[in-house]
């Protein structure tokens, strides 16, 4: 335990081309880029699937099935298949990023389509009855109502990406995973545990950031007082009914 603290507080590990800040920057870059690409692909697709109901079967099965594929095996396979076709740094960077994107797409897709799908049919009908067109229904009714699940999909994807970016150090990518993998290979427990503490802290921070984002972008009409009080009234009503009968 002391060795780990000593490793973490040693100033020499916080400087230079292999220091903690640089590795953290790399980790954030790999993760952020993959998450951005995955979100740009999967959010519109998920909203479209939820809105039209088309391709739902495919979306459910692809996003469910990909969860069973171990990320480590996918990473190694991608490097071995694509690596030789690319030169130098790109041979590691591009396949790794590709795997990160592939792993981030399913949770985002699932969050987006499930979010739109669970929107109250009555709200959708009311919007149509008010004369809204398809786009307006999607943008003004379905998207705000779907927000909690869209963000929670993005949060799971972010965690998946941060975790897998750590594994990418085994194939020679930078990032905080370097401390874990290098520590393992030279059996330096202080280094690998210090790195593990940093990775865990980063994941917790990312999740906290996601929770804050969720609070900021979700409309109070969806999560706020109104929603809660209806749920309570409904439960109360059911209980009264049960007691009466």
């Amino acid at each position: 335990m002391n060795d780990v603290l000593k490793w973490l507080t040693d100033g020499a590990h916080w400087r230079g081309g292999e220091g903690i800040p640089l590795r953290l920057g790399e980790h954030l870059l790999y993760s952020g880029l993959a998450l951005l690409v995955a979100a740009v692909l999967a959010v519109p697709l998920g909203l479209w699937v939820g809105h039209t109901g088309r391709g739902r079967y495919l979306a459910v099965n692809v996003s469910g099935g990909l969860r069973a594929v171990p990320s480590l095996g996918l990473l190694f396979a991608a490097i071995m298949l694509l690596g030789p076709r690319l030169s130098g740094e790109a041979g590691v960077f591009i396949p790794s990023e590709l795997v990160l994107v592939v792993l981030a797409v399913p949770p985002i897709l699932a969050g987006a389509y499930a979010g739109v799908e669970q929107v109250d049919a009555a709200a959708r009908d009311a919007a149509r009855g008010m004369g809204m067109r398809g786009w307006q229904v999607l943008w003004q009714v379905e998207v705000p109502n779907a927000m909690p699940l869209v963000i929670s999909g993005l949060r799971s994807a972010a965690l998946q990406v941060v975790a897998t970016a750590t594994l990418a150090a085994t194939v020679g990518l930078g990032g905080l995973g370097r401390f874990l993998i290098d520590g393992l290979s030279v059996r330096d427990y202080a280094q690998m545990a210090g790195g593990a503490v940093l990775v865990a802290a980063l994941a917790l921070l990312v999740d906290l950031l996601g929770a804050t984002l969720q609070r900021l972008v979700v409309s109070p009409g969806v999560t706020g007082q109104t929603g809660r009080s209806t749920a309570r009234t409904r439960r109360g009503g059911r209980l009264r009914l049960a007691l009466r009968s």
């Binding site: 095996g73 071995m80 990775v199 865990a200």
Partner: protein, 214 residues
């Protein structure tokens, strides 16, 4: 392809190792998550701290958790116990919320009827509430099972043998066959776990098949 046929013994051994490293934590996790989930439902004030607290554990990346285990347990880094405990933590993280929500979904009228029939809180929990929560708990268990089977393979990096060893083995020898074999075996194992849970859940909820309302 010939590599796979020549190494069926190894693949079988790794699959068995993988199966118990994923299954044992699933059972232990369910045993721990049930009282936690029950407490979170029974005492309203506990719901948020317990569910949020266990949920946070799931955010810790697997390789980091595996490596931190010896620090907490005092074990050696190569000890499979690290993997079992870490996977149990993940299972508890996923299932506590599921158990709490599953128990919460039992209709109030059913609980009131059970109480009116003279069932005490303990008997009511085991004979009415938990059986009715089985479909929700089984759904959570399926997610946890697939996630466990996938995550266990990371333990190859800390030297615990299971299907993930085929990945590291193939990668360091620049040889694709073991990696493909490992990927296929992992997916098949995950599907098998899924199937077992679906069948068990069906056997435990005979009333759902007769068409009658629960």
């Amino acid at each position: 392809m010939t590599w796979i046929l020549d190494h069926l013994d190894d693949i079988g051994y790794y699959t068995l190792q993988h199966a118990w490293l994923a299954a044992l934590p699933l059972l232990l996790g369910l045993l721990l998550a049930t009282p936690l989930g029950w407490a979170a439902r029974r005492y309203r004030g506990l719901y948020t701290p317990v569910v949020a607290g266990t949920g946070l554990l799931y955010t810790i990346p697997s390789l980091a958790l595996f490596i931190l285990m010896p620090l907490i347990l005092g074990t050696q880094i190569l000890d499979p116990v690290n993997v079992v405990v870490a996977m149990t933590i993940y299972t508890v993280a996923l299932l506590t919320r599921t158990v709490a929500d599953g128990l919460g979904a039992v209709p109030d009228s059913v609980i009131a009827s059970a109480t009116a029939m003279g069932l005490g809180p303990v008997r009511r929990l085991f004979t009415v509430e938990l059986p009715l929560a089985v479909p929700v708990i089984a759904a959570g268990l399926r997610v946890a099972a697939v996630s466990n089977v996938s995550i266990v393979s990371v333990a190859a990096l800390i030297g615990v043998p299971q299907l993930g060893s085929l990945f590291t083995d193939g990668f360091y020898r620049d040889f694709l066959d073991p990696i493909v074999a490992g990927l296929v075996a992992c997916v098949v194992l995950a599907l098998l776990f899924d199937l077992v849970i679906v069948v068990l859940a069906r056997l435990l909820t005979p009333w759902l098949r007769t068409g009658g309302a629960p």
